[in-house]
């Protein structure tokens, strides 16, 4: 009787594994659908929200022009210029038609997102592609490094929660986490960049260089990247540290941790395979959430460090109400964030066997 019961149980375990695999596939498909929908929703919201912001790009253009030239062009000339740009930017049609056109060109026109004001007559798409590597480079690298360092550090201070040093680390992390990223960036610029002159504090690379595959250029690129990435890492890393510490502490109270200790495993194995592995799962989800929340911080950093990334572009575009460019920046940012989130979400089942079933 006992043997029968267990045979049945064993069978159902196999079945569950098969069903699990099917569900993982369905999960991936569903997740991808959500991904596409979010992308569409984001660009739609961006399209209408930006047009609700007061300020007409044509007026701004002419206003700036008047200030620059020091004289008012005659009304007729102004009207001609405005009519011309309205037409080029597709703004001479009613809003719903503009929206349909925008989507049609974006999807069917090979990502034709229209021209830009910021760098007229450059195409918005080209502009974004040229700027995106900077943002992705700084953002992804710093967030991932922050995550790795923060997760490691958080696991350690969670594990050693009762030690003085660990408690000090919590206080420091909390302070850093609530510090606005621009303050950290400005602090680094002022002290590291100018007062102590340890590292360059502005620009993507030294002005006297041209991009090429030389050691001089690459090292200049890397040294210029340190402070912006550090600003991002300090704040985000502190958040990850605190998050991981909390996760570790809650995992340390789990029954399987007691059991692992009772088994006479070495503390390192308990930490690595039992505590860390389990705390890591929600921490990976946190990465996906943080990715979206910290992109704006990266934008500020780009502006402060004069990096030619999407953030700088967005600030410029906002100042001109350059809708096409603003929309493109949003579209690509959301694309980047969603893609990262998607990767993380799809990677979760690898880490957590339970999700393969419950997803």
């Amino acid at each position: 009787m006992t043997a029968n019961a267990d045979a049945r149980a064993g069978e159902s375990a196999t079945e569950r594994q098969d069903a699990g695999r099917r569900e993982v596939f369905q999960y991936a498909v569903r997740r991808f659908g959500v991904y596409l929908f979010t992308l569409w929703a984001a660009i739609t919201v961006a399209f209408f929200i930006f047009r609700l912001v007061p300020g007409d790009p044509m007026n701004i253009l002419l206003g700036n022009l008047t200030r620059a030239e020091g004289r008012q062009r005659d009304a007729e000339a102004q009207e001609a210029i405005i009519a011309h740009y309205r037409q080029i930017f597709g703004m001479d049609e009613p809003l719903p038609a503009q929206y349909i056109n925008y989507l049609r060109k974006a999807i069917l026109g090979g990502l034709d997102l229209g021209p830009s004001f910021v760098e007229y007559p450059a195409q918005t798409k080209d502009l974004v592609f040229r700027r995106m590597p900077w943002t992705i480079g700084i953002f992804t690298t710093s967030v991932l490094l922050a995550w790795i360092v923060g997760t490691g550090l958080g696991a350690l201070i969670g594990w050693l929660q009762r030690s003085r040093l660990s408690q000090l680390a919590v206080v420091i992390s909390t302070l850093l986490q609530i510090t606005p990223v621009y303050l950290v960036a400005l602090g680094l610029i002022i002290y590291v960049g100018y007062t102590w002159r340890l590292l360059p504090a502005g620009g993507p690379y030294a002005r006297h260089l041209q991009p090429e595959w030389t050691w001089e250029f690459i090292s200049s690129l890397l040294t210029h990247a340190i402070l912006p990435m550090l600003s991002n890492m300090i704040v985000i890393g502190a958040g990850f540290t605190l998050g991981m510490r909390a996760l570790m502490i809650s995992v340390l109270g789990e029954d399987y941790l007691t059991f692992a200790r009772a088994k006479g495993l070495s503390p390192f194995t308990v930490l690595k395979d039992y505590a860390f592995r389990n705390a890591l799962i929600p921490q990976v989800t946190a990465l996906a959430i943080i990715v979206g929340a910290t992109l704006n911080g990266t934008f500020i950093i780009e502006v402060l460090f004069q990096l030619p990334g999407l953030g700088t572009l967005f600030v410029q575009a906002m100042g001109l109400r350059d809708f096409n460019t603003m929309q493109a920046v949003v579209l690509f940012s959301i694309f980047a964030v969603l893609t990262l989130t998607l990767i993380v979400d799809l990677a979760l089942p690898l880490l957590d066997p339970r999700i393969r079933r419950t997803a």
């Binding site: 149980a9 375990a13 789990e254 029954d255 200790r261 009772a262 389990n278 957590d352 339970r354």
Partner: protein
Amino acid sequence: MAALLEIRGLSAGLQGRRSVTQVVSNVDLDVQSGEILGVVGESGCGKSTLATAIMRLLTPPQVLQSGTMTMNLKDGSAYELLRLSPRALRELRWRHLSYIPQGSMNSLNPVLRVGRQMTDTLIQHGLSQAEAHERSVAALQLVNLEPRLLESYPHELSGGMRQRVIIAAAVSMRPALIVADELTTALDVVTQRQILQELTNIRDELGATIILITHDMGVVAQIADRVAVMYAGKIAELGAVNGIFEAPLHPYSQGLIGSIPRESGQRIVGLPGEAPSPWNYPTGCRFHPRCPKVFDPCSEYEPGLRTQGSGRWAACHLYDAEVVSDA
């Protein structure tokens, strides 16, 4: 021959920032080799703390306050459990001293396969990968599980299977002593019975000694050789199962045994009142406010655990000749 485990004057409790309590008070207990010793009592009586203390798994704010625990193995070696270095303790655990924790449902790491969780310990105790695997398979067979479960994740198993895996893990190194805490609490009656049967088999086949912590007198009645009844952090009565069940001496044991569901499905007597909290033990005998046979000395002196002959021990003024005669 010395008992397998000699516990003397063991006290454990909670250490707060400003206050200290005793959850287990000055317990003396000998565990004989090869026996199944049931430790019973209501929840909060300190039996789980006792188990955790034996395993040296107390974590702050739980602290060990005093006492000694000596483990005498068959090969003649003896270990003073409370003095072992962390490293020696790790060596000893699983090889000689295993644990089946309370809440076994959650005692398996959800992200590691069952096999890995069974073998990692064995490998760290010096076995090769192949040996560890072999031992694990054998251990699973002991509890009627198929070897292929080694490839499963805990969430793919039923509660009973998880409990069996834990048992299998605990016996995989053939330890001398197994501390099993609330082994069957979360299981249905049929599975409970199977598992208890398997535990008895393990004792018989491996010659292991088992301390079985439970609040369920029925479980004790079914498999234990001896039973220790705990009340408010102290042992109230100790003796062979048959003796205690037939004629419990301590009024608390009498109440407890009275509360076992009989086949008629009726509980004959219940214990009135609630167990005292460790923060607020009564003076004298800790049971006296609830005791149906309370008399003067009970609130004044604390009764010691005294032998009542034929391996029976009780801590009650009723059986203390001097006190009774004084009264």
